[in-house]
Structures are given as structure tokens and as C-alpha cells.
Symmetry: D2
Subunit: 259 residues, 4 copies
């Protein structure tokens, strides 16, 4: 919703989507096609040669593939001067370090790797970390559809990590808890010192509540993702901004002016 | 809020409070004193002889004492023809059976034993059981202040039991759950086949959410007890109704016309 | 989720869907086709003669058309001995009276007219009416997508009506409200004496919260319909039950054993 | 929760409370008395001469009086080199301008005027403004006890103003709303272009929800103040920080490092 930089608006944004046939890919193809300031120039599946995006005159790559091929895709983009927005998981510290090295030789190229494209989810996690310095108690409840195989969710783990860092930096101790008797584990998981509860319920998609409490008050930060459409504003924000932010940005937060 | 029976309104309701010095007792003394249709005739502490309530002309006893003495108090009331409303815990199946035997000899006397005097909490549990027959998924989140030593709460355990009975009676299977990886126990406790999560947060008192989900929809039944005042309408409802319900009633539900 | 009556299970349920091309119709066609105990025998659009359902051997009609033709469709079904489940709006008191007259001549035929097929929504409204007798305060917040043209929603108006009837029957007065200064109408609409607030928010579908409050406590009954899928369990429940309930039933409540 | 500046920790914080007999005053007196790093040196009521705080050796003044006398109290504090934390309302732009003039002559003195001392409420409003740039839809629901005479609440009006400023600065247009039929005003008040709904419910104290929505997602920022205790951490934060922030700060936000 933030206006694109002037540099971005003068250069056309010609987007090639990699992984165009996947679930996220199909949504993204539609979102790019419908955006008045973006042009969809290529849709690639796993069998298509990367050269096709160059032939199509792409200026930007949107990588929504799988961890096995994403680093290779991004390397190809960088070497050819294309900006890249990446939604594929599996970008470990080591992979990101190698990508930073490569970007050092292409100082005009921007890359955004975003573990989560939901603007609302990223804001909620950032607010949670900021608020957690000011409340004695904090817990996380994440709620998902019951076909999910792992608990807790990756987003909840990342949120707990951000909260733990913020509290440790501000000298805030652990949340008070007098529990001495919990034979069945009702108190949930302890992730980086933060209690995390995982609900699985038919009808839900992906939801998270961070509860923060102090004497006489509570602050609740809740995010609901009802649909994969929720990720498209973040994808578009990434495509519109990446050219004006050379180098590697990790996390959509970097583009949200969170001060 | 329901009008008292005519039988109740003709006889005066002269209340003796046992355990008047405890936390609940002090609230109850005030609530009885302020109710226009009730008369507070005696306040007894642990050192006072039970005879004092007879001397004061009590028609009703409100027992808010401790499990060790509550059965003896109620037996004394029944033997002397006083109706009793009991908020003390520890009334096991066996104790209730013995009380029923005693009441058989005093067919005009009513006794209510209520594990929970919050009208809202009792309604929420009853609704949860009724709804749980109609949804594939159900989970419970209870939230309390962090000075509580046990998890999950007694109310959550009772709610899970009511839900389990209702679902078993209606032939509803377990909530769907594809979780295969939950190393830290984020999925919480399994109580009678129902997932229960316990949150402990400074600022809260006693809160419970029952989440019910089906394809494309969710029903949430939430109860908040902010203060012990929440128990007083239930106490008064009990005192106003018990004389018109001879025999033993267990649970405030019996007086709520839940159909 | 309740097991069908034995009468229902011996007769096959052969369903004709009227209005099969509409939004609800398409969902219903799929739901009926996928239900193991139902058989989809005909899909009719507005141009198709009603005779087609007889030719296809339908035993049940599901009417999801428009107010202009629904009474005619249902009359045709009744005259031909078919049970009908009706989701079309516009069934005024007068139309229902005329239908009852017609059903008097066909005592074996059952008809269900349901203004709302969401089991969760119907339960939430029924619970709200039951609870509203026990709390001094009650208000309704309904939340919908911002393309809705009317406020408040029909469901909120019906819920307010149920609450008002229940409170009037129990002798409960109006919710306390000391507001003397509300220049911009922040207190919302007054519907049958109950405050109703309408939120319009991109991302939402159809949601309703009933808030009930008393000294020291709150009960919140929240229903979320994320998707039209939410109406299918109610449609199937209607189709499975209608043959065992001759005459006219108005509202899905009648089939939910709400006591 | 943030560590006090070194300047603050070397000088003792000797607090005089003005308006010590009021509701907030009594809570504050207790909170100051219990804080290990603060010393309560004087409690003044409306009849006490201001000179008493000088006699008691106060270094800080906490003003919790009434709009009629607060400016005079703060002027006296500033002239005598005392830092002041002010929770009294009625500090108009004009009064603040006059105070700034006075502070220009006492460059070492700090004053904090806070319309709201709840850290959670201030954070929630700041987060709402930040997030509102990124979502097409935003609405506010405030909920209070039914003895409140005005609607909407001052906090809701301020939050709406912050949201409106943030959206206008980011070029975000009004929330989408297709409502054409709302005969009873269910859509609530329009404050600075933001819909505000006011609920009044027995059992509640002071609560606010900001709902933000975009395609497929929702962000909810909820704050609950259950008790006046909620304001004490903000009061203490103010007293601990004000000496290190010379000049006038308006709003607790200034001390919360909100970037």
C-alpha cells in the first residue's frame, strides 16, 4: 500500500514466475497479471529452462519452487541482473551467506527472501516482539486446519524466537508460572522460553494469537489467514520494492518501515 | 433472573452463611445482605457451634467451608430441616450417595451442591456439550492467572467430560488430527479424548474457550470470570430455588432450565 | 452428525436440486453427490420443467432458487409427494400459512424451510436466547465482507428477536446503559431492544458475536462462517431428516434436538 | 521494564503525589510506596498547600488531580525544579503551549503529560496506526461498563485519529463499504473517517479492538484493562524516565521506544 519508489516506477516491472503451477504459483500468476503496474512475462514450471525468462525480457523473478532448486534459480537471476523475490523455504544461514557473496559482485541487484508473505502475520510478529519487553507474561496460541502434520507452526516458532530475543535484550525474565501439577502436558510446548499451544480444528486455515499480560491488563495480537490470497499483497509489495533495495533482505519486515 | 417459585416467596429465606470469613464467604455475606428478598441471620466461622444457626432461626444454610467439615455441616442442616446450598469442593460420589440416603428421611428438604456457581460458566459448558455433537472438531483453551498450581483447570476437565459423553452418545468420533511431529508437546493434554490447552497469564482471572469446527465454520463459546462477584448470581439463584426442589441436585445446571 | 431415523435409512434419498447453477446450488450439488447415503438424480436450472424431477425418480427436492418461484416449486413437490428442503428466502408468514394448508392434504410429506443452513449459526442463536435470560446485559456484533449492502444482517435481526422474546418471557428488563452523550451514533442500532453493531471488513465472510455480561463475568458466543461450505452439513442434515418429520418445519433448529 | 537511565538511578526519586485521595491517587500511592527504587515523600489532597512537597524534599511530582488545578500544580513544580508526571485530563493545545514556554526557562526539568497510562493501550494504538497503512479495511470496537456516559471513548477517538493520520500520510483511501441500507445506524459512528462501535456491557471495564482486514486475512489488536492496576506500570515508567527527558513529552508513547 506504500507507494513504490520513483526508481521502481520508471523501470517497468516485468515478472517471470518460477513454480507457476504450484498452489502459491497459481495465485501469484493471477495477482501479477491483475496488478496494473506489473507485467507477467513468463510462467515457468520445473521442466522449463531458466533461459526462458531472459528470452521473455524479465526484469524480476518470483521464485515459488522447492528448496532443492531455489538457490540455483536465484543464482541464475542474480548473475543475469534480475531482481528476485523468493517465497521458497529452506534458505539456511549458510545458503544466505553464499548468496550474499554472490550479490557482492552484482551491487545493483536486489533479492528478498520471505519466509512469510502475509503482511498481517509479519506485522503481528514484529508487534509481539516490541510489546513483549513491557509485559511480565507472554504466550502464543497457533491454530490451524487438522491436516497439518507438524506442531507448533514455523511462524509460531519464529515469533517465539523474536519475543525471546526482545525480552532478553530488555532484561525481562521468564513469564511467571506457579504450575506444579500438569500430568498431561496442558501447558504446551516451551519454545525459547515461551509457552506455545497448537490447536487443530476443521474449518480453520492459519491463525495465531499472542497473549501479553500484566497486572490488570492484557494485550492480544491476533492474525487470521483465511486464504492463500492473504499472501499476495506481500508478494506484490516485494516485487514493487526489491529493485530499490540492492543486496539481500531476509523477511518482509525489511520492507514494512517498522522503524 | 428467573422469578422465584411462589412456594419460595411465601416462606421467608433466612440464610446462615458457614465459612463466612473466607474469600467466597465475605462476598456471599455481602450479596445475601444486599438481596431484598433474602435475610442474613447468621455468619459462622470454623470456631462457631452449628447450633447458632438454629438459634438465629435460619431456614437456609450456605456452606462455603472446607471438604473436611462440609458433610457434617450439611448433615446437621438436613437433620434440622434446613435447606442447604453448598459451594465446598470434595463431594465425591460416595459422599453424595450417603447424603441422598439421609435426604430420603427428610423428603421436604432440598440440597444443591454446585462445583461452579458461575451461571455463565455452567451455561458455556452445557452449550459446549450440546454443540459438540454437531462438529467434527472440538478443543478447549482455559486461561488463568499465573499463581494457579494445577493444569488443566477443574472446569476444563469437567467440560471435556461433558463433551466426551455427548459425542459418544451421538456416535461422533475423535476430532481429526494429522499431527505426526510434535516434539515439545504443543498439542496440549488429552482429557477424555478432547485436547485441552492451559494458558497462565498475569492480568487474567479464570477464562475458558471451547472451539468447535466443521467445514467452513467455527463456533466459539467463551466465558470470562473477571472477579468472584461472578459467582454471586448463582449463589442467590441457588438460595431462592433450593426450597422448591426437594432432594439432592448436583450442579447449578439443574436450576437453569436447560431443557 | 446425528444418525438418521430408521424410516429415513430404509427409503433411499434421491435428491433433485433446483437452482443447481447458482452459488449455493453448485456447492450443494457437490455435497449431495459426495454423500454416501444420498443420490443426486437431477440438477435443474430456471429453464428446466419441474416434471424432470419426477422423471428422474426424485424422492426429495432441494430448493435453492429465488423468492419469485420457490413457492411454486415447493407446491409442485408437495402435490407429487416429494419431501422438500428449502433454502430460498422470502417465505413470509402468509406464504408459510398457505403451504401449511397444502400440507394438510399430504400428511406424509415433510418440508423444511431454513433461513440459515449453518448448524453453528443456528446453535449460536439458540444458545444466545437461552443465556440472555440469565444476564443483565446483551449486545450483538455482526461482521461481514464490505460488499454487503444492508446492515444489520438478517441473522443478527433474527438473533435479536429471539433474545428479546426470551428476555420478555423471563421478565428481564433492558440492558443497563448510562449513555447520555453519543453524537455520532457509536452505540449502533437498537433492534427489538437489543444493541446491534455491524462491522464491514475486507477478508471476512459472515461472523457474529453475542456478548452477554453480568457482574464480574462475560459469556461470548461467536460464530464464523468462512465459506459457503459451512452450509452443507445443515443441508445434508435437512435432507436426511425431512422424511421423518411430516408437516412444515421452519428453521433448522427444529432438527437439532435443542430441548 | 526497561532499565532506568544511569542519571535516573543516581538521583533518588522522591515522589509527591497530588490528588492522593482520588481513585487513581490511592492506587498510585500504593504503587509508589511498593516500588523499591521510588520513595513516597508526600501525599497531598486538594486542601493541602503545594509548599508541602518542597518541605518533604520531593524531586518528582505525580499530578492526579482535576483539570481546574492541574496547570497551576505543574507550573509550581516546574518553577521549583521538580519533574512532573501528569495524568490529569484537560491539557488542551493552548495549555501545553503555555507549559512549553515555561519549560524553556527551566531546561533541566522534564514533564510527561499522559492521557493514558496503560502501556498496553498505548502500544495497541501505536500498532494500529502502523498497521493501518497496510490494510484496505479498518474499524474500531470499544467495550466498556454500562455506567459510562459518553460514547465513543476518548481512547477510541484518539486511536481513530492516529489511524486516519497514518493512512492519509501513506495515501490509503477509505475502508471499502457497499452499505446502502442501514435504517437504524448499525454501522456506528464515523470518526475521522474510521468506523467506531461502542459496546456497553455489565462485567466489562475498558476494552478496545482494532480490526484490520485485507484480502484473505485479518489482524486484530485487542487491549483489555480489567482494573486500574493496569495504569500503574505506566505511572512508574513515567516517574523513572521523566528526569532523563527534559522538556515536555505528550503521551506515554514517547517513553516506549516505538522507533
Amino acid at each position: 500500500m506504500t507507494a513504490p519508489d520513483s526508481s521502481t516506477s520508471t523501470d517497468p516491472i516485468r515478472v517471470a514466475v518460477l513454480g507457476a503451477g504450484g498452489k502459491m504459483g497459481r495465485y501469484a500468476v493471477q495477482a501479477v497479471a491483475e496488478a496494473p503496474d506489473l507485467e507477467l512475462v513468463a510462467e515457468l514450471g520445473s521442466a522449463d529452462p531458466l533461459q526462458r525468462m531472459l528470452d521473455a525480457g524479465a526484469s524480476h523473478v518470483l521464485d515459488l519452487t522447492v528448496p532443492q532448486v531455489s538457490p540455483e534459480n536465484v543464482a541464475f537471476a542474480v548473475e543475469n541482473g534480475l531482481h528476485a523475490v523468493v517465497g521458497t523455504s529452506g534458505w539456511s544461514d549458510e545458503r544466505r551467506a553464499r548468496l550474499r557473496d554472490r550479490l557482492a559482485d552484482h551491487p545493483e541487484v536486489g533479492v528478498l527472501i520471505a519466509p512469510n508473505f502475509s503482511v498481517g502475520s509479519v506485522l503481528a510478529s514484529a508487534f509481539a516482539a516490541q510489546a513483549a519487553k513491557h509485559f511480565p507474561s507472554v504466550e502464543i496460541i497457533e491454530m490451524h486446519h487438522p491436516d497439518k502434520v507438524d506442531a507448533p507452526s514455523g511462524t509460531a516458532v519464529r515469533t517465539a524466537g523474536l519475543i525471546a530475543d526482545a525480552r532478553s535484550g530488555a532484561g525481562v525474565g521468564p513469564s511467571p508460572d506457579a504450575t506444579t501439577h500438569d500430568p498431561d502436558g496442558a501447558r504446551g510446548a516451551l519454545v525459547d522460553g515461551v509457552r506455545v499451544h497448537a490447536v487443530r480444528l476443521r474449518g480453520l486455515e492459519a491463525h495465531q494469537e499472542v497473549l501479553l499480560g500484566g497486572p490488570g491488563e492484557q494485550l492480544v495480537l491476533r492474525h487470521d489467514a483465511f486464504d492463500r490470497k492473504a499472501y499476495m499483497p506481500g508478494v506484490l509489495l516485494g516485487l514493487r520494492t526489491v529493485a530499490s533495495r540492492p543486496g539481500l533482505a531476509y523477511g518482509l519486515d525489511a520492507y514494512l518501515d517498522l522503524g
